[in-house]
């Protein structure tokens, strides 16, 4: 599938699988898994530099910024103020204006606080950020995020790290039909078929972290996810057959004895 780029806010992305960089054993494993996934977008969090132990390596020493688009996130922020602070710090750290915006509403489910999310998105868009919001599978909220200027929307498939797969394909489908900007299914996939399913529904990309990093063999799973996303995208573009209750023979009756 050559020449099938994903375009968001005028930027071209070659991979439709985006990956997080958390929860790996070490940076070497992170790097290998990302390479195996074929992803060109990697998400990172913003945290305090360890000033007591300067021998610690930095993740970005392992990820060539020429090869990967670094997408900072506001992971761990539970209110608008914190999310704005982290987004501004991420930009000050000098990667780009891209931000994966998370405003979480609850620690147990990590579901987004969608009211706070819309508010934070509105402010950051005005400040010139390219805001990619992590949101619920709610079409109305998705539309509001587009209305405040988000050039893509990232609805969840299931709670972050749950591996439950696509819990509400119908809502996601409605989002994909209603919303005119790219849709990136973010969070909740467990295995390659989940990623394929998201793409078959019409998602423009899938973002995941735990499903790869938490697998027994993260590097093999990263590769599986690459093919899952690829197969799902191809199937979506090919157009599946309608579901029917009864059989339709594949072989002709003519010529039978």
């Amino acid at each position: 599938m050559q020449n099938d780029p994903l375009i968001i806010a005028g930027r071209e992305f070659t991979s439709r699988l985006w990956v997080g960089t958390g929860k790996y054993k070490d940076f070497a494993e992170t790097k290998k898994a990302i390479e195996a996934s074929g992803a060109d977008v990697v998400t990172v969090a913003v945290r305090r530099v360890n000033i007591t132990d300067r021998s610690k390596e930095n993740l970005l020493d392992y990820l060539d910024p020429k090869k990967y688009i670094i997408l900072p996130n506001t992971a761990g922020c539970y209110n608008v103020e914190d999310a704005l602070r982290y987004a501004r710090l991420a930009r000050a750290a000098g990667v780009s204006d891209l931000i994966k915006l998370e405003v979480l509403g609850d620690e147990r489910t990590l579901f987004p606080d969608t009211a706070g999310l819309i508010e934070a998105a509105r402010i950051l868009v005005k400040e010139g950020f390219i805001v990619l919001p992590y949101t619920n599978d709610d079409p109305i909220v998705a539309q509001k995020l587009v209305d405040v200027g988000c050039p893509a929307v990232m609805p969840l498939a299931a709670p972050i790290g749950s591996g439950l797969g696509i819990r509400n394909p119908y809502n996601l489908k409605i989002i994909m039909e209603m919303i005119k900007v790219p849709i990136i299914v973010d969070a909740g996939v467990g295995t390659a078929s989940d990623a394929a399913f998201a793409m078959e529904l019409g998602a423009d990309a899938v973002l995941m972290n735990t499903a790869i990093a938490g697998a027994k063999d993260p590097i093999a799973m990263a590769e599986a996810m690459k093919y899952g996303v690829y197969a799902g995208r191809l199937a979506y573009k090919a157009g599946r057959i309608p579901r029917k209750l009864y059989a339709t023979a594949s072989s002709p009756i003519e010529g039978m004895l």
Binding site: V19, G20, T21, G22, K23, Y24, F27, T30, V42, T43, V44, A45, V46, R47, R48, V49, I51, T52, R54, N58, L59, L60, I70, P72, N73, A75, G76, C77, Y78, D82, R85, R88, L89, A90, A92, A93, G94, V95, E102, L104, E107, L110, I160, G161, A187, L207, M208, N209, T210
Partner: protein, 86 residues
């Protein structure tokens, strides 16, 4: 011996020279300035101003960078986050 002042860096008390700038402190800590964000008393500094901003007693400095993460790892991340560590 130069005069020293007490400041807070990433939530921890630290002494530094009374005439030190943010840039001096980063060099003392062996922190490369690319891909680092610095917040001085809640004001985010432009990288080009690091050497021009002098430190004063009681200043609260936050030095941040990127780490692995794509999904929050539950409540312990929240405890580690610098906003909540205070």
């Amino acid at each position: 011996m130069a005069e020293t002042i007490q400041i807070q860096v990433n939530g921890e008390a630290r002494a530094c020279r009374a005439d030190a700038t943010v840039g001096d402190l980063l060099r003392d800590l062996a922190i490369k300035t690319e891909r680092v964000a610095v917040e001085l008393n809640l004001e985010i500094l432009d990288r080009k101003d690091f050497d021009g901003r002098s430190l004063h007693a009681g200043d609260r400095l936050e030095i941040l960078s990127f780490i692995g993460g794509g999904a929050p790892m539950g409540s312990h991340v929240r405890e580690r986050g610098f906003v909540h560590a205070e």
